[in-house]
Subunit: 412 residues, 2 copies
Amino acid sequence: MPLLVMKFGGTSVATLDRIRRAAKRVGREVANGYDVIVIVSAMAGKTNELVGWVEETSPLFDAREYDAVVSSGENVTAGLMALTLQEMDVPARSWQGWQVPLKTSPVHAAARIEEIPTHNINTKFAEGMKVAVVAGFQGVTEEGRIATLGRGGSDTTAVAFAAAFGAERCDIYTDVDGVYTTDPRISSKARKLDKIAFEEMLELASLGAKVLQTRSVELAMRYKVPLRVLSSFEEYDPNAGTLVCDEEEIMESNVVSGVAYSRDEAKVTLVSVADRPGVAAAIFGTLSDGGVNVDMIIQNISEEGRTDMTFSCPTNQVARADRAVQEAREKGLINYHDVVVDNDVCKISVVGIGMRSHTGVAAQMFDALSSEGINIKVITTSEIKISVLIDRKYLELAVQALHDAFGLEKAG
Amino acid sequence: MPLLVMKFGGTSVATLDRIRRAAKRVGREVANGYDVIVIVSAMAGKTNELVGWVEETSPLFDAREYDAVVSSGENVTAGLMALTLQEMDVPARSWQGWQVPLKTSPVHAAARIEEIPTHNINTKFAEGMKVAVVAGFQGVTEEGRIATLGRGGSDTTAVAFAAAFGAERCDIYTDVDGVYTTDPRISSKARKLDKIAFEEMLELASLGAKVLQTRSVELAMRYKVPLRVLSSFEEYDPNAGTLVCDEEEIMESNVVSGVAYSRDEAKVTLVSVADRPGVAAAIFGTLSDGGVNVDMIIQNISEEGRTDMTFSCPTNQVARADRAVQEAREKGLINYHDVVVDNDVCKISVVGIGMRSHTGVAAQMFDALSSEGINIKVITTSEIKISVLIDRKYLELAVQALHDAFGLEKAG
C-alpha cells in the first residue's frame, strides 16, 4: 500500500472545526488508496501557553521538565484527530512519541531524531489501521524521558517519518498556499512556484521565508523525500501548493527562483583590529561562545598592520555581541579601538540553482539596485545565492526592483 | 528513609501560585526527613475542557483516544510541580503513568490498577531525588496505551502508590479541611473529626460526602494505608485535617460519627407485582441491565399473590428505570399494574462503628425524627449505618435534629 505523510501545523488544527477540515483531507487520501501517517502540531497558541507557564515557574528551567510539559499540546491534538477520523469511519489511532517509539538524543528541548522503528505502526497498518496520527515535535530518550525537537520540530518529525517509512511524499499543510518568488505582502507580483529545489528552499528558509523549518528541508534533501507545502484552508486540489524536490525533477526554471529578505539585521564593525594570524578566529570564536549568530563577514584592506572587521547579526543580538567582544578585550584575547554599530540595515538575497550555470547574475542584481539609487554595504555570495546588506528603508523598493529585474512574475 | 505520599487535587494546583504553595508543603516534609511521592491532578477545569473537546468531536468516543487526550492535563501539572520544587532546590522529577510504569487493566476510561513496580522511582530516590511527582489518574496497559482510572482517580493513584511503596501515610490535600460530623452548610454545629475509621469513611463517601473517592478508601482499608484529608489552603499544621485509619487506632469515639445525606433521591414503586420466586431477580436484573443504580429495596406484605415492590434511585435515573421496566413488561419478563414515582425524597443516614456494640441507635434516630414530625418512608440498615428516606423538604431539619440527638457537636 503506498504511504503518504501529511503534517498539519498549529493554525490548521487550532479548533475542532479545523481538525475536522484537516481530517477530511486525510480521509480523501485514504479513499485515494493511501495509508497515511498524520503528524500534528499543538493547537495554535497552546505551546506558547505551556512555555509561558514553564518560564514563569522556573526562569532557568530543567529542560527535561520543560519537555514533559510542552509536549502535552501535541498529544491532545493527536487524540482529537484520531477521534475525528474514527467518526468519519476511517480506522485511526493516535501515537505519542514514546509509543512509536521515536528515539532521540538526550539533548532536551533541542533533541535530534536518532531512529524511528517502523514495526509498531506497520503492525497496526497490517491489522487494518488506515491512519496513524502521530504527535509531532517529540520523542523519547534512551533513559525513557520525553524530549522535544525544538520549536517547529513537527516539520522535521514529518520528514523523518516519510524517510523512515519510505513515503511517496510528505505534505506539509500550513497557513500559506505554497512557496512564492517573494513575500506577496511586499510585491503584488509575487508568484507561487509549482516546484522548487531543496537547495533553493534551504536558502530561502534560512533567509527568513518561514514556510518550512530549515532542519526539515535538510533532512528531506538528504533522504530525497519530496515535500509539498500547501494550505489547509484552500479547497482540495491534487496539484496544489509547491513541491520541494530534487533539482533533477525541475525541467525548466528561471535562473533566479526567488528574492528573500531579512528585516532586522545589524552591521557591526570592530575598528582598527590588529591584523595578524588568528585574530579572526579569536573574534568569531568569542562571538560564537557568546551565542551570537554571525551571518556575513568582511575584512577591510589592512593599513599599517591594522584592519576593520565587519559582520552582520540580528539586531536583537547586538548587545550580546558588544558584551562578548568587550569581555574578550578585557581578557586580552582581542584588541580593537572602537565598535561601530549600524542597526538600520536589512539583508536582500536572490536565490536560484540556475546561477550555477549562468553568469552575470551578480552584475544584474547590483545594476538593478544601483538604478534605484540603493547603496550596497556588504556583499556575500554562495553557489546559488547572492546577499547584500542595504539600508532598511530601501527593503521594499529593493525587493520589488529585483523581482522585476529577474522577471519572476513569469514562470521560467 | 521514611516515605510520604502527598496528593494535590485540581483546586490545589489550579494556578502557578497554588502549585508554589503546594510545593512549599512538599518541601517542608522533605525538610522533616521524608522522601515524598507527590500525586497531582490536572489544573482545575482542564480535564473538563479536554473531556468537552472529546465529546464534541465524537459523542460515542473511542475510550482509548479519550484516555490519550484527557490524561494530558496531569502531565502538565506534574512537570510544573517538579520545576517549582527544583526552583526551591528540592531535587525532583516528574513521572507520567507509562514512565513509572503504573500498569492497568485495558478497560479504558475506567481502568483498574494492576501493578506499580517500585524499581524505577526507587532507583532515582537512591540517586538523590527527594520528590517523585507523579501524574495522577493514568497508567499504561499491557499494549502500551494510556488508560485512565475514571474521574477522581487521582485519589486512588495516591493510595495505590502509598501501598506499593510502603508509605508511612497518604495525605490528600483538597479544598476542605477534613471530614465533618455533617455538612457544615446545613448544621453550624458540624464538627471536624480528628479521626474516622475506614468503614465509616466508606459509608460517608458512598452517601455523597464527596471528600474522597470511594475506591481510594476501599484500597486504603485493604492495605491499611493511613489516609489524611486536609486543606491545601490552611497554614501548615502537622495535626491538621482528619485521619482516616483502622478502627483499632480510634481509642474512644461517639457511637455515631456522622450524619450524611443524599438530596436527589426518588422512590419508585411497582404496584401489584406477581409474588412468586424469581420476580425480584427479574426486576432488579432488568434495572441493573438498564444502568439504574438501585439503592434501597423494600417489598410489601403480599396480598392475594401480588405485592408492591419499592426501590430508590437517583432522580436523574427515574426515566431510565421507567423505560427498563416497561420494556421488560412488553417482553413478558416481569408483570405489574402501575409505576408510582415519588421524586421529592431524600436520604438521611447516621453512620458509626460504635453501632456494632451499642443497641438502640435506630430507636433513637426514629424518635428524633418523629419529634420533629418527620415521616419515614423507607428504612435500610447495615452493620454501621441506618438510612431512611424522607420528604426532601425536611432534609435540613432532619440533619440538624439527628446531629443534636447524637450529641455530635462534642467529641466522644
